[in-house]
Amino acid sequence: MSELQTTKTDAGGRLINILIELGFALFSIVIALLVGIAFILLAGESPLDAYHALYIGSIGSWREFLNTLWRATPLIFTGFALALPFKAGLFNIGGEGQLLVGGFAAGFVGFYFTGIPGGLHVALAIIAAIAAGALWGLIPGILKAYKGAHEVITTIMLNYIAIQLTIRYGIERYRIGGRQALPTIQDSAKLLRFNDLAELPVVGSLPFIEAFALPGLRLHFNFILALLAALFLWYLLWKTTTGYELRAVGFNASAAEYGGISSKKTIILSMVIAGALAGLAGAGEALGTHHTFMSGMDAGLGFTGIAVALLGRNHPFGIVAAGILFGALSQGGLEMQFVGIPSEIVTIIQALVIFFVAGLQMLKWFLLKQREKGEAE
């Protein structure tokens, strides 16, 4: 995986680089959809109907578009959770576990405490999720920095531990009835949904707000947090000394050390922030989407986040775009199932996108090599 834009070059070159990246991303999606036709035909369905349904179900209407954004929200966060450590040269596979502990912490604070005023309760639950996720990033960060334990191994192990702790132990302990979930959170802990905006005092009187008052819309305020997180990460990486140090460690740890940069500190910090961001994904799912912490809530979001980061070229804004694309695939996939396309085919098409994104990186790498023949050393 290379970088979308690692340093400032002149504005023109910069724009061209971004356009090239975008072109490749779009191209790989088109190829994936074309190859997907073969699979749809194999399933005996009409590709035209299938893709029409994908379109209708994802961006075909305002409502579906908003639901696409809702689906995208946790993926954007888990994408960040991979991308930030990646900039420091680490491969954080632990998004899944960090999301789970974050979701559990949010869900727990959400149902356990009562009588806290609305805004404060949500904030506390979110802070708990951030703290839990950060802790789940801190552990592999420390193990890597001080013991050299490979982060891929430790984060995978921590994923298992997170599942056991939150679902086997946590849910079992507090659940009411047969459902594999914590009790429903208090109303005061619910994250504001967009379709409730119209009922708010001042905001509700704004003219456009009616557009969000749609039944069955689940888009909630975590999406706004995801956009803020993208801005935060972009600023952190390219406008602060922390980001400078992080990128230096990722590019050349020896040179960073020479420059007086502590790679230990940098490794730990990047993992802590990554964990916190994945924890926020969990908070959104628990407080905004499901209104509880439940088994299966993670639904592979942590792992899909890896693909999102890959497609988004590890750039905060790229990840937002890639997250929305994956959100569209999963939201539109529902509609495809309604017209009779097996859900497996939907999964295959999603996999094809990932496959061709990775595959076309090879092509790009090859083309750049060729181009290098025409560029001075």
């Binding site: 690692t6 400032k8 406008k239 000394t241 990128r247 050349n252 040179a255 020479y258 420059g259 001075a376």
Partner: protein, 512 residues
């Protein structure tokens, strides 16, 4: 027989245009069969581009190549290899965990059915090794043999593929003085067996010592081709640079002030835990250059890393301006205005994927005006870069390009500019001119002297004996982690130092 027919290789009118740069501009290179032909020029003069065209890695825009009388057009390295052209790259392309034999046969293995015939492979490797007196152990693993040996493996690799024309890209850059001598013996024996050699370098002494003819490139043009015996080093240097070059470093008398840096009985371990610095003591005064001469691998790397906070100190103390800095971190040492020019610019000195601007603040990025609290001030950073690029003559189109795009000499100037601009009171310079062309060496040397005259204490560690001798006011010789003898500059005798560097002084001392 016409003279033309003597040429094994004729490259005529080679032009290669990169966007914005004419890397090669109508270059002629004529190499006679059986000669050692030196291709010299400053960094960025077009040597590497020319060789990449010959080796099929680049396409030329204009020009013709004749090899053994036939017109050829190279499309890829395999074709070059098939024609009998082999290249030993500056950075070896070997697999550390495989044996010498395995590395050599990789890609063209002798087979027996579907299996590799290792016995045959080993026999061939041994045969080549013996024929050219290369003394390579076919069963050793690459990771266990010295850099000089690894280079010989590369040589066997191309001989194994039937090369008649061997191209060496700066082969001596990675070698110790002894290994350089041995390499030149190998050159001679290759020549005796009828091989032709193109030798890319910018070390003029070597050009003079080994080559038969010289082609000089400057700014992408072939300036001249001369017979080595008819020219002096100075002539070649002037052809390369295009003006008169000062070989002797112009330096006045040192005026040392008070002692600012004391190292007492320093002990440092290497990565394997072996004590490689074994009780070194010295001190340096303001306005003085203390040089450490020695064959590489005698503890210099560990010594410099320990003094700059990059490596744990196992024993002894280090004092700077009266303060004990033994336990300080790299950042704390940097913050005390101790400059460091690292021996390996690509590994330590630069983040090559960072822009020049970002590299110019490496190590100082946390200081004002480049940042305040944690917020970077790119305006100040860019201004800083622009002023350094100008003052230190770093040749670049912009301060925003990646450091990887600069030539080696300009990368080194970047590092020197960065360290000098912080007004170091102590400067630790390790191999400051390694892999740098003549013009840049001259510049770097004069900058070091200038700093000294401004009162900076300088520790100079270099494997180039002539460099240490010409720059230092006092110098010590390091051997196996100890400073075996210290000289004042005017007492230093090159032969004695050479003996001490290789350990013969120590034998005398211990009575063995």
């Amino acid at each position: 027989m016409a003279e033309e027919n003597n040429y094994l290789l004729e490259m005529r009118g080679i032009t290669k245009i990169f966007p914005g740069v004419k890397a090669n501009d109508n270059i002629d290179l004529l190499v006679k069969k059986g000669e050692i032909h030196a291709l010299v020029g400053e960094n960025g003069a077009g040597k590497t581009t020319l060789m990449k065209i010959l080796y099929g890695l680049y396409d030329s825009d204009q020009g013709e190549i004749y090899f053994a009388g036939n017109k050829i057009r190279m499309t890829d390295p395999q074709q070059a290899i098939n024609l009998g052209i082999g290249m030993v790259h500056q950075h070896f392309k070997l697999i550390d965990t495989l044996t010498v034999t395995e590395n050599i046969i990789l890609g063209s293995e002798p087979r027996q059915g579907v299996a590799i015939n290792y016995r045959e492979a080993r026999r061939q490797v041994e045969e080549i090794s013996n024929k050219y007196n290369l003394k390579v152990d076919p069963d050793a693993k690459i990771q266990d043999i010295s850099v000089g040996m690894q280079q010989r493996v590369e040589i066997i690799k191309i001989l194994y593929r039937g090369a008649d024309l061997l191209i060496f890209d700066e082969p001596t850059a990675v070698l110790t003085p002894q290994e350089i001598d041995e390499l030149f013996e190998i050159f001679n024996s290759l020549q005796e067996q009828g091989k032709t050699i193109i030798f890319i370098t910018h070390k003029l002494r070597e050009v003079k010592a080994i080559s038969d003819r010289i082609t000089v490139l400057r700014d992408g043009k072939s300036v001249d081709s001369v017979n080595t015996e008819e020219v002096t080093e100075k002539d070649v240097a002037e052809l390369m640079v295009g003006r008169e070059v000062l070989f002797r470093v112009d330096k006045g008398e040192a005026k040392p002030g008070e002692s600012v840096f004391q190292v007492e009985n320093l002990q440092v371990k290497d990565n394997r835990g072996i004590m490689t610095v074994n009780g070194i003591s010295f001190e340096i005064s303001k306005g003085e250059i203390f040089g450490i001469a020695g064959v590489e691998g005698n503890g210099q790397t560990e010594l410099v890393e320990a003094l700059t906070g990059l490596r744990q100190i196992a024993g002894g103390r280090v004092y700077y301006k009266g303060e004990d800095i033994t336990e300080l971190s790299a950042r704390e040492i940097k913050d005390r205005h101790i400059g460091h020019i690292p021996e390996d610019r690509l590994r330590r000195g630069l983040v090559t994927q960072f822009s020049l601007s970002e590299n110019f603040i490496l190590g100082f990025h946390h200081q004002e005006p480049y940042s305040k609290n944690i917020f970077m001030n790119y305006k100040a950073i860019d201004q800083h870069a622009q002023s350094l690029i100008q003052d230190f003559d770093v040749r670049t189109s912009s301060h925003q390009i990646l450091a990887s795009k600069l030539s080696g000499g300009n990368q080194q100037k970047l590092i020197i500019a960065r360290e000098f601009r912080q007004d170091p009171e102590l400067l630790i310079a390790a191999q400051p001119t390694r892999g740098v062309d003549v013009g840049s060496i001259e510049f770097i040397h004069s900058q070091l002297i200038k700093k000294r005259d401004e009162g900076t204490a300088i520790l100079l560690v270099s494997a180039e004996l002539s460099e240490v001798m010409s720059l230092s006011d006092r110098l010590g010789v390091i051997y196996e982690g100890e400073i075996v003898k210290t000289f004042a500059a005017d007492e230093a005798d090159e032969r004695e130092i050479g003996r001490l560097m290789t350990g013969s002084g120590k034998e005398v001392k211990t009575g063995e």
